[in-house]
């Protein structure tokens, strides 16, 4: 019997978890001798007070939408893909190769090509852990962690020994040609008369990310493949009975998941840095975990959570700039969000269930179980 109504499950539980995370974060700020109210004001001003702030917020949010969707899709098949970091790094490699070695005539074609390359590289990096899980029973959490480290070494090797331009000391590729530079929100909004900060990195990939949210929603809730993924995630034995082969579902899910994580690279590598540098992902793969948990693995929830984390990232940068609070505060907040919305879910749910149970028992007669 469902103890709680659906709205409580979908909205109240995450909201209380988030509130707990926020209160604890405020306590942390207090403990290091700063004023939480002033800090929040500064963050809101810095991240949302100007089109420059919004430009950064949305830039970060774009990254997190991709990695958040990647984790969310895998969650639906009850797979915990912790390897978004490595898959996004490989996606960066795909983007770099596509941008450096193919003479694209126009950015739009380059974007399509780079998206495909990023997706393929990310998917390939997720395919191996996926295959090992499906065929050899190797725990996907451990293998994807291992693959993050292997990816870091691989990128290090490729950047230092292969893609580094002659004479450069920097472990990074050459700058991408001008033709593949993506238009920023400034470029996109200027023709319709909206002036948007020129310095902010948010770019056309944001639209790709939003489109990905919509497509993933359709995939999960409206297609047969999504139905099979969800079925497998809820009950492997039932999926086998119904004739949904586990190997295929695990592989396809991990390919989609890795592909999404890899596609993040069109934003940070192609849209912002315009070259591939070492550690280009900067933890966005891990933030995807927090985003997916907070968004309850629903693409719409991921969209909202990604923007919230984008705000936190930009706000955190502003904090670090104007106060003595280090940027690492964001990592703490991120940890608390994961802790409360993910691991301590039951701490919030159990007392709530008790409340709803006593509410239901008291007034109206319960619908009879037939």
């Amino acid at each position: 019997m469902d103890v709680m109504p659906k709205w409580a499950e979908v909205i109240l539980v995450p909201l209380i978890s988030l509130l707990l995370a926020a209160v604890l974060s405020a306590l942390v700020i207090l403990a290091i001798g700063e004023d939480p109210v002033a800090a929040v004001k500064l963050m809101v001003n810095g991240a949302l007070g100007s089109s420059y702030g919004w430009g950064y917020t949305l830039y970060y949010a774009t990254n997190f939408m991709f990695t958040g969707l990647a984790v969310a899709v895998a969650f639906h098949a009850r797979l915990f893909n912790i390897g978004g970091e490595g898959q996004a790094a490989l996606g960066g490699l795909g983007v770099a190769l596509a941008c450096l070695y193919i003479p694209w005539p126009h950015w739009s074609l380059a974007l399509i090509g780079a998206t495909v390359a990023a997706g393929l590289f990310g998917a390939a990096w997720a395919a191996i852990p996926g295959w090992l899980q499906a065929r050899r029973g190797s725990h996907i959490v451990i293998t994807t962690i291992m693959f993050n480290f292997i990816a870091a070494s691989l990128l290090n090797y490729v950047l230092v020994n292969m893609l580094r331009p002659q004479g450069s000391m920097d472990p990074a590729t050459a700058r991408f040609p001008e033709a593949v530079n993506l238009p920023t929100l400034h470029d996109l909004l200027a023709p319709i008369g909206i002036s948007f900060s020129k310095a902010a990195p948010a770019n056309v990939s944001l639209l790709v990310a939003v489109a990905a949210c919509v497509l993933i929603w359709l995939l999960i809730w409206r297609t047969r493949l999504g139905y099979e993924i969800r079925s497998y995630g809820h009950s492997e034995s039932a999926a086998r009975y119904a004739g949904m082969p586990p190997t295929r579902i695990i592989m396809i899910t991990m390919l989609i998941s890795g592909g999404l994580a890899g596609m993040m690279a069109i934003n940070n590598v192609m849209g912002e840095a315009e070259r591939l540098v070492l550690n280009s992902v900067e933890g966005a793969g891990f933030i995807g975990i927090a985003v997916a948990l907070m968004g309850r693995s629903h693409p719409f929830g991921v969209f909202i959570a990604a923007i919230l984390f984008g705000f936190l990232y930009q706000g955190g940068a502003e904090l670090a700039l104007w106060t003595t609070i280090p940027r690492d505060l964001i990592v703490v907040i991120q940890a608390l969000v994961i802790l409360f919305t993910g691991a301590l879910d039951n701490m919030v749910r159990m007392p709530l269930e008790r409340v709803f149970l006593s509410l239901r028992r008291a007034p109206k007669p319960e619908r009879k179980e037939v």
């Binding site: 942390v28 403990a31 290091i32 001798g33 915990f80 912790i82 191996i128 090992l132 050899r136 029973g137 190797s138 725990h139 959490v141 451990i142 293998t143 962690i145 291992m146 693959f147 480290f149 292997i150 070494s153 691989l154 290090n156 090797y157 230092v160 020994n161 891990f286 975990i289 948990l293 003595t324 609070i325 280090p326 690492d328 505060l329 964001i330 990592v331 703490v332 907040i333 991120q334 940890a335 608390l336 994961i338 802790l339 993910g342 691991a343 301590l344 879910d345 039951n346 701490m347 159990m350």
Partner: protein
Amino acid sequence: MDMYLTLIQLLDSTVRLATPLLLACLAGLFSERAGIFDIGLEGKMLAAAFFSAAVAALTGSVWVGLLAGIAASLALSAIHGIASITFRGNQLISGVAINFLAAGMTVLIAQAWFRQGGRTPSLIGNARFEPVTLPFAEALQNVPFIGPLYYELISGHSVLVYMAFAAVPLTWWILFRTRFGLRLRAVGENPAAVDTAGVSVVGLRFAAVAICGVLCGVAGAYLSTALQAGFVKDMAAGRGFIALAALIFAKWRPWHALYATLLFGLFGALETRPDVIESLIGMKVQGQLLAALPYVMTVIILAGFVGKAIPPRAGGEPYVKER
């Protein structure tokens, strides 16, 4: 002789690098043998590294620092225990959260306390674990063959190194020769058997998680007060995950944990001495390859191509009494 000395030096740094891995690996062993997956070893080490260095710097006593490090690690263990045992949450997610919590909090507190950009002051004198010179080490120093072996390799480590190596037989003995060990292994395989036998599943699992916290605490303290002289941001540098890899490599067995961490320590030592490999095998091996090797080997083991690694049966599953 020159070659021999180089080898001794290499093994010496192997031991140094293996020590934190070994302690963390044994920490994970206790936790996972009791059925609690712990991918938060990294975070616990990091928190312990910071707090032991910070308190050692403030008090001037490395032993007080060690205790502080253990306390910090235990606090994170408590969070992991509450999340995964009391509230039956997802152990993997809890571990991820703990890693981030430690990564963020250490820098935040370091900045608030010392204002040195997320590091502690350098530790000197009694605020650091100094090498211990074993008896006769100096007298035997010049004896051929044995001398360098004893003086360089066996003697001259911090006391924590000897503790770590002693922890291996101790762990084995506890697990396989004591009542506590029997129950601990049982709770990782079938908690219902332990519960119906009248022993508290929750109590055992918290005990295991607490031991894990203590060992991670020592591992972290070793990093900042013995291997290095002070804390720097992110100084665990993935060691918690290598320890996890070693644990799988060792198939959750204490002696094999020692061998696995020594092997991974050797990779680490070789990474800093590319000249040695080149002279040994006559070709250049990229540092990145060595860095990735522990992970690659673990994946191969996990894939079951070289002997299957079977984790404790109840691992990762919260215990719920069935109806």
